[in-house]
Amino acid sequence: MGDVLVIAEYQGQRFPKTTMVALHAGLELAKKRGGNCLAVIAGDQLDGLAADLAKYGVSKVVVLEHPALKEYLADAYSCAISAVAKKLGAEYVLATATAIGKDLLPRIAARLEAPMASEIVAIGEDNTLIRPMYAGNALASIEMDGPFKVVTVRATAFDAAQPSGSSAAIEKVEAEIDAGAGRMQFVSFNQTKSDRPQLTEARIVVSGGRGLRSGENFKTVLEPLVDELGAAMGASRAAVDAGFVPNDLQVGQTGKVVAPELYVAVGISGAIQHLAGMKDSKTIVAINKDPDAPIFSVADYGLVADLFKAVPEMVEELKKVKHS
């Protein structure tokens, strides 16, 4: 009992920060529940990744290689990973709430007939887990029972695992995939082209809202600030709904949750749904012409100004600071 199986997601030949967060949370959960933390990696030709994964303090790395696992698809992955969880007797199956984590883990929960806690932000005592509800307006302390439990963790709520100095055993396991599971087909992935850091990994995030008024203004007004700061670009739901920018930039309850060192909200009023996605940022800056905008209630530094004047001025000031 108490063992935790962490699903290690990868991008090409590297692990994103979100995977390191899952490992950290998995190690913490295993320690609190008196079990071991194991990691599973699924796909095709995984030797290099598995060796890398073994360095982060887990007690074992399980490798699932199968042609059907080459591209991530929920049905085949659910079969294969649930089978591993059963075989190892892992009490918890855990992953970060990335797009894949959110897609896959409920399916695994159903297969294991297990309860699931989504996007936990802390591991409590007395077998409890803490997760936000109602767009972050309430924190629930929850309890689950049964032989299996499924958990996704919020990427911003835990640190990243560090190399432990030793290397865990790597075990290759035959992937069990139902004959009926191959019905989903991967067709294509259309990557958003950007030289900027990823939203969920960036040290600085600059987000724009409806105040920007157009997609064109995102390019001409906001992007110079984003690039001067070396930041990732985000947006409010209002800006996404208005079609200014693609949805994968959306920060908020139904988009991405970020907690960078610096978050700059430009022309964002600060609806509760947006605050849910950024209020754990270390330093928050708000630029808005409405002095009563709710965004100022969470901002460390506020600037009541017309963004079309203030943002270009800020870019100039930043250049001065950089060269001083």
Binding site: D75, A110, M133, Y134, A138, A140, T283, A299, Y301, G302
Partner: protein, 249 residues
């Protein structure tokens, strides 16, 4: 094509949510209840598929108390053909909800189940995926585009870093993301017609499903409040404090 759309009743997204002092739940007085916004998108998509194909049936299903009829009637007024209310008073976890909906789907035999990617009250984002597994069907979560042809469904999904397209043969489960469509408002004739549409009630106890909660909320607490900081006079001041005080740039 028959499409089943599970619908949840949630507090209006504009409502201020207050946690009760004893931590047992949220204050429900003065709450306006609405269809979960993502489920509204699901109803709209089902209606558009039916309209495009020129035939079919859109069936709504909710699990809750008598008062949930209100939201089902709204969905019927948007244009859905009939509705099922599975009556239940007790607290149900996502696993139980998925089991009930799976049982309804097994009876109704739709070719598609379309539902919201998450309910904006508990923010779990689980039920669609659980149903897909229980039914043994393919799933396409976070859909921003759905195309149907010759019994095959092609779905564009909003994932990290871009858009993914997957395809599967019907039947399947799809969960909706924001940009899939903009839901219509119920028209006055729609509201009139909805009164006469079938709304069947089923007692959850009669379904023979294990509903024992495996997940319980012990307490709710209000999250720590972030204090407002200070206002600055100019962009130059702002850059200065970020540099020398907050030391983030």
């Amino acid at each position: 094509m028959k499409i089943l759309v599970p619908v949840k009743r949630v507090p209006d997204p504009a409502t201020t949510i207050r946690v009760l002092p004893d931590g047992s739940g949220i204050a429900t007085d003065n709450i306006k209840w609405v269809i979960n916004p993502f489920d509204e998108i699901a109803i709209e998509e089902a209606l558009r598929i039916k309209e495009k194909q020129g035939s079919g049936e859109v069936v709504l299903c909710s699990i809750g108390q008598q008062s949930w009829q209100e939201q089902l009637r709204t969905g019927l007024a948007m244009g859905a053909d009939r509705a099922i209310l599975v009556k239940s008073d007790g607290a149900l976890d996502t696993l139980a909800i998925a089991r009930i909906l799976t049982s309804v789907a097994s009876q109704e035999k739709p070719e598609l189940v379309i539902l919201g990617k998450q309910a904006i009250d508990d923010d779990s984002n689980q039920v669609g995926q659980m149903m897909a597994e229980m039914l043994g069907w393919p799933q396409a979560t976070f859909a921003s585009k759905i195309e149907l042809s010759d019994g095959k469904c092609t779905v564009t999904r909003e994932v990290d870093g871009g858009l993914e397209t997957i395809a599967f043969p019907l039947p399947g489960v799809i969960t909706t993301d924001l940009r899939l469509n903009e839901p219509r408002y119920a028209s006055l004739p729609g509201i009139m017609k909805a009164r006469k549409k079938e709304l069947k009630e089923i007692a959850v106890d009669s379904m023979g499903i294990d509903l024992t909660p495996r997940l319980r909320i012990k307490t709710l607490t209000a999250p720590p409040k972030r204090e407002a900081g200070r206002k600055l006079e100019s962009p130059a001041d702002l850059v200065q404090v970020l540099h020398s005080e907050a030391k983030v740039i």
